[in-house]
Amino acid sequence: MNRFDPRRILLTLAAPAMAIVFAFIITSLVLLAAGDPIGETWRTILDVGSQPRSISLIVNSATVFYFSALAVAIGFRMNLFNIGVDGQYRLGVFTGALVGGAISLPRPLHILVIVLVAMVVSALWAGIAGILKVTRGVSEVISTIMLNFIATGLIAYFLRRVAVPVAGSNNIGTEPLPASGRVGGLSLIPDSPLQIYGFIVVAVLAGVGYSVLLNRTRFGFDLRATGSSETAAVASGVNVKRMIVISMLLSGAVAGLVGMPVLLGEAYSYSLAFPAGLGFTGIAIALLGRNHPVGIAIGALLWAYLDVSGNPLQILVGVSSEIVTIMQGVIVLSVVVAYELVRRYRISQEQRRVARQLDEAAGPSEPREPQGVGV
């Protein structure tokens, strides 16, 4: 058993650590080039972590990011690039808000209906891309991007028809959810004026469910097999077409949860001001977290941290908050490169280690040569 081999763990951590250091250097260079105060910028960014209010903000946006990244990761594990999480969650949350505002049910049931409607709508929207791929061979990258645009159009169109003015602004939104359709917050962070979304519990459950599904079930095995070698999966009897459709539906269903923490815990209606673009953030975080449920959680927290630190930068130091976006971008790029380097290093290391151990164990036995990968 070497599942908890310390060297493996060290290698796993090496890549993100390298990426963060690299991002730190690049960002500092950008600050230097722009003539902004480097030391003060970093101090402000670090300070964010010690303020209870900021911590609450970070945890809340990380919760939202987590769902989004999880949805993307399901596709990634099967080599499916669901770029359409963005359109899927917005369509889902819009429909959920619409239905939730129109019906009245007792409390747990009301919430359940909203969540289910959002998940089903998002799943079906993603399913379109899956069906197109297996029947017509349309790349899911293209179709999901297109479906994002269509979703944007559909929501804008229907919002005009059903919207009510949002009190105290010229914003428009769906009918607000009654109290029975709202999820209360949790006071998890001491001394913080803000509560944490109650939906964080669902995020934790989703992470556990994802891990169990992929690692412990037959379905998960088929999914991972298809992702790591489609040819081998076909030869082993996996019905790849069916898997594509099911994975897209599953990915979409999780995408349906992305908008829920905000809808049920804060906004209570879908308006023009509802956060958009979360699906794309999810792609970056899934890459950062390497599709691992814990990795994604850490990635989501890091991303949220940087997001939240943008504000004080602007106010206190006078540095444009876009510096944070630059840093996020550099992290993602370097992490992808670093993971690939570590992956190759690990494979060649393992081949060497196995050869060495066998030589030691067997002495003058059958000779062997390490096989190149993918040759």
């Binding site: 079930t217 790591s228 081998a232 009897g237 996996v238 081949q351 059958e366 000779p367 096989q371 990968v373």
Partner: protein, 473 residues
């Protein structure tokens, strides 16, 4: 002409990589024409006049011979490809060495033997005086091998040096002037062909007695296990890849299929496994028609499958061995319990396979990519023999496997056959095919063209039948 022989894993390929600058040696030196050299990349090797013909051809199908040859070192005239100059040089080399290449033919129209000549031409075009050929005969039928050897003799006559890597001893003995045997990474001897024979050479190579693929008594019964009839498969363009293929394999029978690669064997296997649907025809397992079944149902019904390309079809390279044990048997004991993966059961059974089939690995948690080819193959064979299969589809089961593992795999197949397994064996190793099979059919351009009795046929006769040159029986 110098030959280097050694079983798989003896270090032949590594040696070649070092000679061609693809890998750096830890110690030692290489001298070309008495001058010590260090190669840090293949281009250094080419500069020193060393050229390599790889086992797997590196040609662009949709380019002409001329374009393929000049690719990467094009003669230029003012920034444009100088076709006239390229043609002149190719024709010159071609006639000097008797390679008879036609510069304007598309590579996709060429056969395997022709392609190999183009590879040689490519190397000569780059000014090589020392040619390294890595297992050049692995993909050729006997007649093509003869042609290749004629070409090589021509090269030798013109003063070139040829280094020839192989594990086919009879070939080596025929062409080489000197033979170096390596085993486990060291030179165990250098001999001249006149003073040795295949058997002595083989024993030098293996360091022990030689196995042989022969099966002794027949175990064929009259109970049909796998029946294929009228199987036809066409490409989108309507060309028949398989045409009216039919055969029956009985319990305890090994049916061998001989043929030059690319004559429909791969498609036949995929059709039987349900990975590709035949246009017409029927596949029956026992007395059940399984034509409409999905691959998984066929596997569950007891069809085991050893694919031709283990990296593409039989393994998840970046997954531990025990997960690879599950692959292909995702719905069967002891790997799963209902919808759940049974980790304990799968791990225990992987350990059993590792012990029983002598898979050399420090642990069942290492990635499949960390094992040598032979050990990967033993794991696959062990896995496919699990769960009491009734039919085994084995495509090149010992390809790229060292002699020890090869003998073991033959043993497993023989044992299983004695216990009533029906085997479809596809192999390019004619000795293996003749030695293991009860019946041999020859496939050519998607059709069976001959039935051969393995008891009284030579590899040469079989080779003729495979190219369509021999008389049909």
């Amino acid at each position: 002409m110098h030959a280097i022989v050694g079983e798989n894993g003896a270090g032949k390929s590594t040696l070649m990589k070092i000679l061609y600058g693809m890998q750096r040696p830890d110690e030692g030196s290489i001298a070309v024409n008495g001058r010590t050299v260090t190669f840090s990349s293949p281009s250094d090797a080419i500069e020193a006049g060393v050229g390599m013909v790889h086992q797997h051809f590196m040609l662009a199908d949709n380019f002409t011979v001329l374009e393929n040859v000049v690719l990467g070192s094009e003669p230029r005239k003012g920034g444009w490809l100088d076709h006239a100059e390229a043609r002149r040089r190719i024709e010159e080399i071609s006639s000097n060495y008797g390679l008879d290449a036609e510069p304007d033919t598309l590579v996709e129209e060429l056969g395997v033997g022709d392609r190999q000549r183009i590879e040689i031409l490519k190397v000569l075009y780059r000014g090589a005086r020392i040619l390294i050929l890595d297992e050049p005969t692995a993909v050729l039928v006997p007649q093509e091998v003869d042609e290749l050897f004629d070409n090589l003799r021509e090269l030798k006559a013109e003063g070139l040096t040829v280094i020839f890597i192989s594990h086919k001893l009879d070939e080596v003995l025929r062409v080489a002037d000197e033979i170096t045997v390596i085993r486990r990474g060291t030179t165990v001897g250098t001999v001249v062909p006149a003073e040795t024979n295949a058997r002595a050479l083989a024993e030098l190579m293996v360091g022990s007695e030689l196995p042989s693929p022969e099966t002794r008594e027949s175990t064929v019964t009259d109970q049909p296990m796998l029946t294929v009839s009228g199987l036809t498969l066409r490409t989108a363009a309507g060309r028949a890849v398989l045409e009216d293929i039919g055969f029956t394999i009985h319990k305890g029978e090994v049916l061998g299929i001989a043929g030059v690669e690319g004559n429909g064997q791969g498609e036949l296997v995929e059709a039987i496994m349900g990975m590709r649907r035949g246009d017409t025809g029927e596949v029956r397992l026992g007395d059940r028609d399984i034509s409409g079944w999905h691959t998984r149902e066929r596997r569950e019904a007891g069809i085991a499958y050893i694919p031709e390309d283990r990296h593409r079809h039989a393994l998840l390279l970046e997954a531990p061995l025990w997960e690879n044990r599950i692959l292909g048997h995702q719905t069967q004991e002891p790997n799963v319990k209902g919808p759940w993966i049974d980790r304990k059961g799968a791990r225990r059974d992987t350990q059993r396979i590792v012990d029983q089939y002598d898979v050399r690995t420090p642990s069942i948690d290492v990635f499949a990519s960390a094992l040598s080819g032979g050990n990967q193959q033993k794991l696959i064979v062990g896995r496919e023999m699990s769960g009491e299969p009734v039919v085994l589809i084995a495509a090149h089961p010992t390809r790229g496997v060292d002699v020890g593992a090869q003998a073991a795999i033959w043993d497993y197949i023989r044992t299983a056959r004695r216990e009533g397994l029906a085997v479809l064996l596809i192999s390019a190793d004619l000795d293996e095919l003749i030695g293991l099979s009860d019946t041999v059919k020859v496939i050519l351009r998607g059709r069976f063209v001959a039935d051969v009795d393995p008891a009284n046929v030579t590899p040469e006769d079989l080779g003729s039948a495979m190219t369509g040159a021999g008389a049909k029986e």
